[in-house]
């Protein structure tokens, strides 16, 4: 196990390095560079050159990369040359909005999707099972932002149950802040839960066809008992690995959801930075997201191993 963790950790570090290089190189490919963004369209070539020197854009790429990574390792994610704010400070503040949504919808989607998925799987020929899986199929195909807009129409405009915008004071007004985050969390949980439910369903079905379930049934256990005692742990394996994937896609999904509900979160920041071509910040934010995703993948692998003793033996 220790060896496995160490090896997997090595892989993680390697993946982070490759990702950072990838992000760095990709963002240097753009047609108009940062200097021309800052200087505006009417800058003289001399002004451009001066700004490039100031930002270090005229130095070799390797050197620039080294400096960027060095800063990242010291917790300095860079400073926006466009509006002078530091990425770290802004990111921290934005995370107080995005993180509750991501965590909340992860928990919510698991709580809803796992039981429903098991029901849909074990009753897959019955009307309710079919209805449940048709429902999840619809949930997968519906764009999350559209669902969000519809929820706004019903709950904010029509019934006025929830706040329509995140309060300016942020978490200084806890009641209003929570109220503003309820619908985004539900929206995200719905679209993620639909996908998750489908996986839970197929994992359950898969397990129900296994021979050990037949054996358990032959011993006299009821279907439910057999599924509960012998099936659940086996069925949880693919679901755990999907959960990692799900959390990662939640992080991407939050970008869109924040836009729908006009939440001042990380996603909104990323999109507006892309629009203003504030690449220094885009670079930092994207790398942070990617690292987060990689770390989640790492954690999922470890958990997977803990649940499934067979994998431990093979390694």
């Amino acid at each position: 196990m220790t060896i496995y963790v160490a090896r997997r950790l090595g892989q993680l570090v390697l993946a982070v390095v490759v990702t950072s290089v990838f992000v760095f190189v990709l963002l240097r490919l753009l047609p108009g560079d940062l200097a021309s963004v800052i200087a505006g369209t009417e800058a003289t070539p001399e002004q451009l050159a001066a700004i490039r020197t100031e930002l270090g854009l005229d130095r070799p790429l390797v050197e620039q990369y080294g400096e960027w990574i060095g800063g990242m390792l010291h917790g300095n994610f860079g400073e926006s040359p466009v509006n002078g704010t530091t990425v770290t400070g802004e990111l921290g503040q934005k995370l107080t909005v995005s993180l509750p949504v991501v965590l909340g919808s992860t928990v919510l989607s698991v709580l809803v999707a796992v039981p429903l998925g098991i029901v849909a799987g074990s009753r897959h020929r019955k009307p309710d099972g079919v209805a449940l899986s048709a429902f999840s199929q619809l949930g997968i195909a519906l764009p999350s932002f559209w669902v969000g807009l519809m929820l706004i129409v019903v709950f904010v405009v029509h019934w006025q149950v929830f706040e329509n915008a995140f309060p300016r004071g942020g978490w200084d007004e806890p009641g209003r802040a929570v109220s503003a985050l309820v619908l985004p969390t539900i929206t995200l949980a719905l679209s993620q839960g639909a996908v998750l439910m489908r996986f839970v369903r197929s994992a359950t079905l898969d397990v129900l066809h296994q021979e050990y379930i037949r054996t358990a049934r032959a011993k006299g256990l009821t279907r439910t008992q057999a599924l509960w005692r012998h099936g659940i742990r086996n069925a949880s394996l693919p679901v755990v690995s999907i959960l990692g994937v799900q959390i990662a896609s939640l992080i991407a999904g939050v970008v869109v959801i924040e836009r729908v509900f006009t939440l001042p979160g990380v996603g909104q920041m990323l999109v507006s930075d892309i629009r203003t071509r504030d690449l220094e910040k885009v670079q930092g934010t994207v790398l942070l997201v990617a690292v987060l995703v990689l770390v989640i993948g790492f954690a999922v692998d470890i958990v997977h191993r803990l649940i499934d003793p067979r994998l431990r033996v093979v390694a």
């Binding site: 990709l26 996908v195 990662a248 999904g253």
Partner: protein, 303 residues
């Protein structure tokens, strides 16, 4: 084709994708109204025979806008699937056929790329290049292509152990020829199913990106329509219904088509539940490398 029609998912999927295709082709020659023309007098008309979907705040016919948007959607769906197919087949077969060390390097690179969620990758590409329909297709194609590569590698490694590959080698077939003539045809059914699901994801991703305002204004798009209509959602919520349903039609269509195709090419799976494909989940975000190419470990172990 007949087998595709035999199952309900296949049937519904074919019809829905058919509707989108017809609408996209139609938009090339005709739309009920001119989508570029602003008629202030006609703004926010309700649903009627003259305007089946109503009109927007500029008096434009929503049905015409939806028909126009289907062209972009279909284009992005097909282009992304094509790019994913090229990347997936090339990387996947290469990593299966190449010498061990090179294969390992390739698979590690693939795994890292898989770790970037497609939407994030698309955001980077849109930041780096101009946001055009091609950029969107490239991002989705690249993002799902690497996941497809994982699937292809798994399938190709399985095919490579078959006797007919050995026979082909013995007959003096070059590696290139073996792959092209014997491996690719044998994995093509799996790949086609995956491509259909990739197309569905591309529809959603394109809608999301244009909703975020990251695609050019000049391209008609459902996501863009929804973004415009969002500003007046409190007053005219009804206008949002049809563009949303359009996205639903396309996504559901490609998803069900994929399910139907899977059942058609592999009747063995029919009795079991249709297990969600690896691409389906992994394209949304990274997947664990150890499992993506073996979605059915449970069954494999059983044997």
């Amino acid at each position: 084709m007949k087998a595709l029609w035999r199952t309900w998912p296949g049937r519904i999927g074919t019809v829905l994708v058919g509707v989108i295709t017809v609408s996209a082709l139609l938009s090339l020659v005709w739309t009920p109204y001119d989508t570029g023309k602003i008629i202030p007098a006609d703004k926010w008309l309700p649903i009627s025979w003259r305007h089946p979907f109503g009109t927007d705040g500029a008096g434009r016919d929503l049905l015409s806008l939806v028909i126009d948007g289907s062209r972009t959607t279909l284009f992005v769906a097909i282009a992304s699937a094509a790019i994913a197919a090229v990347i997936g087949l090339a990387l996947g077969t290469a990593s299966a056929v190449a010498p061990r060390w090179l294969g390992e390097v390739l698979i590690n690179v693939i795994d890292v790329l898989i770790a970037l969620p497609v939407l994030i990758l698309a955001l980077i590409l849109v930041a780096a290049l101009e946001g055009s329909v091609w950029t969107v297709a490239l991002a989705i194609g690249l993002g799902s292509g690497v996941v497809l590569a994982r699937v292809v590698r798994g399938e190709a490694s399985r095919v490579l152990t078959q006797d007919y590959i050995l026979t082909a080698r013995a007959c003096g077939s070059s590696t290139w020829r073996t792959v092209w003539r014997h491996v690719v045809p044998n994995i093509s059914s799996t790949v086609i199913v995956q491509l259909s699901l990739i197309a569905a994801l591309a529809v959603l991703a394109e809608a999301a990106l244009s909703f975020l305002g990251l695609t050019p204004l000049s391209t008609p798009s459902w996501g863009r329509m929804l973004e415009n209509l969002q500003q007046t959602v409190t007053v005219h919520p009804g206008a949002l219904v049809f563009p949303g349903l359009a996205v639903l039609t396309a996504t559901l269509g490609f998803n069900l088509l994929g399910d139907g195709l899977r059942d058609a090419v592999d009747p063995r799976l029919r009795t079991r539940s249709a297990a969600p494909s690896p691409v389906f989940s992994a394209v949304l975000a990274p997947a664990d490398p150890a499992r993506t190419d073996r979605p059915t470990t449970g069954r494999a172990r059983q044997r």
